[in-house]
Symmetry: C2
Subunit: 659 residues, 2 copies
């Protein structure tokens, strides 16, 4: 007697993508509620079951939905914002300014909707996201009906959704609380990368992930520069560094892994880390070529990702799959490397395993959720097809078919797309809304294009990302006792420098342009001679980040720096300032260790204009708590140096000299 069930999908070429790569043609899949309960040849299934609904797949391929293992889905709204640029120009000149200005809950909601529509059309049933306001991503995705790992970004800079990393951790806790047992959404935490997250942040994220048994999503070794810097700073590449921080105690998903060596691959494998390979992003940003062939040989779970649409510039997963196999062949010189069937496993079952959700999705197997797609291979660009080889069908999907061949998409037993129609989303309206954003951003950028920062970037790029510092300044009568105190041996002096500094500040009509400083640093040796001269351009923004009123300590963004290879005359002609202010000073600069933290102490004599001596203390910071602690230490250090901290000045010299 036949069993009763909800739904049978039949008359399909069923590619289970299970470990044995079982195929049934013509085949059928049996679904009850949200779960696959059987699969086999149509004739057997139809004898065994009766169903409320029989769905005729009309000879199409029926296979598990595709798994996008790394993306930033709301960035779909920034598709094509800026292209063909160096990473820092793209990031500092375009993405970050626009994100700061526009990324809100509303932005994230719309971006997620457009992104999800594109994901559905390319046959993706599950994606691993990383962005800001991740709870909005989760809510929107759940409403649309896709499966997702939603990872809340945490990093040391203020973000569109948090002033400090502590706030981001709190956002993640909220996300976990509300989505812990959701049928579609898996909450996760995303420390952005080792270079943007100090050990404290990595630890806080790991603890949160382990405590709640959720995935941890991070960028690892995307660029050669990232690895080089890590080697310089920590004497090791990125994988051993984050392992040392305990990161791999969490169920880790490592995006990119472009620049990793054999030992690091072993470490990732032993630690059960899933890898997200992003072929088109790595190519377009010229990040490098990931050792995918070798990672697979070592048994690593390597899935495929689109990365964000702002860098890529689409979510076409068929393109990513094809590129994954093409690149593995092209870079290894071996045309048999990573064959079509293996790539399709990466895009399905292995991808799900990389995300640590191989138990619920990624293949057509009894007990897994019904996350399924059909692909129409009857089109001209798929013709003819050969069937003399069991792997021919995988070849056809990977090398010839297109995302526009995806016909139907089901997630968790529910249809999201049928015959290329997505009833749950008004795509016309989404396109219209997205275009309204784009128009606003176009105006914002066009205005900015006329700005100093853009011109600065245009002539050679900035060399330093934004960072934050706390600082305080006190006018002093006599520097000698302070210098004696510093050099007394009580303080650990890490470095001493003596400069003669000649600054020209360019003023501009628009206050938001801030000021551009052209500085010549003359390095003074002990015998008073000048050993060398360094010229730099620094753009000082118009706004202060925060001022701690009770302490008169200023929290400021550090500025964009660029080496000044041209003459002062060039910069005057190029930037056309409306005015100039000249400041000349003598600076003794100490880098000291005080109470376990690093501080810069400047003893400045303002020569032009003649304003006398100043004591200035500065420290880099990366979180609100850290900033407050360092502010206290700065006050203490001023007083330790025998100076009254009561009349601190929170202004820059430029502000003291006046416009």
């Amino acid at each position: 007697m036949s069993k009763k069930t909800d739904l049978i999908l039949t008359n399909a070429i069923v590619l289970t993508m299970d470990k044995l790569l079982n195929q049934y043609d013509p085949g059928a899949v049996v679904i009850k509620d949200d779960t696959i309960i059987d699969a086999g040849f149509s004739i057997d299934i139809e004898n065994k079951y009766t169903a409320k609904t029989i769905f005729d797949c009309k000879g199409r391929v029926l296979m598990p939905g595709l798994i996008n293992t790394h993306t930033h889905i709301p960035m779909t709204l920034l598709r094509g914002l800026a292209d063909d640029l160096r990473l820092e120009v793209w990031l500092l000149g375009y993405i970050m300014p626009v994100e700061r200005e526009y990324v809100s809950k509303e932005f994230v909601k719309l971006g997620t909707k457009i992104g999800c529509a594109e994901l559905i059309r390319t046959g993706i049933t599950c994606f691993n996201d990383m962005y800001y306001f991740e709870e909005v991503v989760a809510k929107t995705t759940a409403e649309i009906g896709l499966r997702a790992i939603c990872s809340q970004t945490v990093l040391k800079f203020p973000t569109p959704d948090a002033h400090s990393y502590e706030e981001s951790i709190e956002l993640t806790r909220g996300l976990i609380e509300r989505y812990k047992n959701h049928p579609l959404i898996i909450p996760a935490v995303a420390p952005h990368a080792a270079y943007t997250c100090p050990p404290e942040i990595l630890k806080a994220c790991t603890d949160l992930a382990v405590e709640n048994d959720i995935p941890l999503h991070i960028h690892i070794s995307e660029t050669a520069e990232e690895v080089e810097n890590m080697r310089k700073q920590e004497g090791m590449p990125v994988v051993p560094y984050v392992k040392k921080q305990g990161l791999f105690k969490a169920k880790t998903i490592a995006a990119h892994c472009v620049h990793i060596d054999e030992g690091e691959m072993h470490t990732l494998e032993h630690s059960g880390v899933g890898v997200a390979h992003n072929p088109s992003s790595n190519l377009k940003l010229a990040s490098g070529l990931a050792p995918v062939k070798r990672m697979l040989e070592l048994g690593l779970n390597v899935g495929i990702g689109t990365d964000g649409t702002a860098s890529n510039n689409d979510l076409d997963f068929f393109e990513e799959i094809r590129l994954a196999t093409f690149l593995a062949k092209g870079t290894s010189g071996d045309p048999t490397a990573v064959p079509a069937v293996k790539t399709l496993e990466m895009a399905t079952r292995i991808g799900a395993e990389a995300l640590h959700i191989g138990n619920i999705t990624g293949s057509i197997e009894k007990g897994k959720r019904a996350d399924l797609i059909t692909i129409d291979l009857s089109t001209l660009h798929n013709s003819p097809h050969f069937r003399h080889n069991i792997n021919g069908i995988y070849s056809q999907i990977v090398y010839a078919s297109k995302s526009t061949d995806v016909n139907d998409v089901m997630v968790n037993g529910k249809w999201l797309m049928n015959d290329k129609a997505i009833p749950g989303l008004d795509e016309e309206d989404l396109i219209k809304q997205s275009q309204e954003y784009a128009k606003e951003i176009d105006i914002f950028i066009q205005k900015r294009e006329k700005s100093v920062i853009s011109k600065l970037i245009a002539i050679g790029g900035t060399t330093e990302e934004e960072s934050f510092e706390v600082q305080a300044k006190v006018s002093i009568k006599n520097p000698i006792p302070i210098i004696e105190k510093i050099e007394s041996g009580e303080l650990e002096i890490i470095r001493t420098r003596h400069y003669h500094e000649y600054d020209i500040y360019f003023n501009f009509a628009e206050e938001e342009d801030g000021n551009l400083r052209f500085r010549e640093d003359h390095f003074i040796e002990e015998d008073g001679t000048v050993s060398h001269v360094r010229s730099r351009l620094t753009l000082i923004g118009p706004s202060r980040e925060h001022q701690y009123p009770q302490k008169d300590v200023l929290l400021s963004r550090s500025r964009y720096l660029a080496p000044a290879g041209q003459s002062l005359r060039f910069y005057k002609e190029y930037f056309k300032p409306t005015g100039e202010i000249e400041i000349e000073k003598d600076r003794m600069r100490y880098l000291v260790n005080y109470e376990g933290e690093k501080f810069f102490i400047n003893i400045d004599e303002l020569i032009k204009p003649k304003l006398g001596y100043f004591l200035e203390i500065k420290a880099r910071t990366w979180s609100q708590i850290d900033a407050e602690e360092k502010s206290d230490l700065i006050i203490n250090l001023i007083e330790y140096l025998g100076v009254s901290a009561e009349e601190k000045i929170t202004k820059d010299y430029l502000e003291i000299v006046g416009r």
Copy 2:
């Protein structure tokens, strides 16, 4: 007063792709007969002209049609025949046997139709083809209405359409005669490659091209092996070699140019050679990564090609364009390399220049043919779009849009596709017909899969491509006078070898499997000791190519060779022969120069079975005329050695010993 014309296409984003990259939005293009007579902003054009027909582009992009600079269009019928294989296995094991069996005029006609339908759908208005029966390609393409350079293949092996290169040259002459002044078809000659065309063939092709002022289309430096072999044989890489042969006197189009150095790039540039870059083919076959960024910097005209569908496995030109820019960035480490706009120039104007037809197509300019496409950028995967940068539109087309966004295609002033419909082709029927071929080929391959050749390939690949040799054999009584004659000093001896050869011939039930020979060559030194042993497998096909009856000289295909790294026992178990024949012989082998040609002279003593002495003379050949000339020389050489050539034997030793 406004001028009268045939057709105005208006309300479009007109991307002219001319050298100044003029854009008109909203813009219009004016067409009279087959020619573009004007382009500009819609408002200006509509004031200036009246037309029989006004075509509303509805805000779509209107740009020149795309130029596919290298393909083998009839091979679309072999799409996905075999993938993820080493080149020689793919070529010898699959493509060549199937081509030998199936490629006919009818095959080429159907393959061209399917290929053209796919080309139109991906926005290509002109392609540069290279295949057999090229006149059928020309006729079919002209009927469909696409523009094409049709290059007839010439090489040293017999092909599906010619027994010798002389026949191929004759076919090309016919093609030229019938298509010399055709409005759509440009006839061309295609010496396949330097490694498949001896100097005589290269010269014959160049002369033909120069004499008729037609393009010459050739594969150059596709693989590292090709270049390595050329260096070994000729002491130089491929570009200087073919230049030395005078090739560049013709209007040359060089496909691939993957492995070329800086000097070769300069040579190509100075010689006005156009380059066809085939990114996905180069990746999929792991041929290597072409130095596209550098070639463009040096001012070379580098176009983009799909290569044949059998290797690639589609004609999606949007994929090729995207890959061209991705690869240039990814391999140079420079994300600003080959930006979107440059790639789109490669795909249009520069591509046409690479094909030496920049005067008639490739951009929207007055006087050029009306080869145009529209692209619909209003879809979800194209949303939003930013317009703050004039290059944003190129970015959008290259990085986000898909071939399925192509809406209309016009060639030579005639619409081939409107609103994605191609009235001139019954695509349903083409799909059906192609599937009938595929089914037949599936059966052919499945039968072959059980064959010895496939099994031979499966265990390690063959190491030698097919070649042809002429040979004759005479039974002799006494070898001494012959050896004395050879060694008398009159003949130039290039090399002498002394072998003791132990052969095991495997027989198989199916005659078409031929025989598989396991040979141990013992190299005998002058003192009679064995210096080393070499083991090889040789598959000897069942068929003879040709026998010259008047001379009893056999023209035979040389055999597939593979090094035999395994034991005889392994091969017996693996191939399961139905019987075995053992032959043991002593062989003195001379490579001599006789009348300016190279010949192998074997003095064989058959030891097992005891059959006495034989004189055997062999020579490699590559054309019918050459074979006939060498047959005459073989007869002369036998008689020169003092042996009567009257009782020549045209059988292999295996045939003499008998099955």
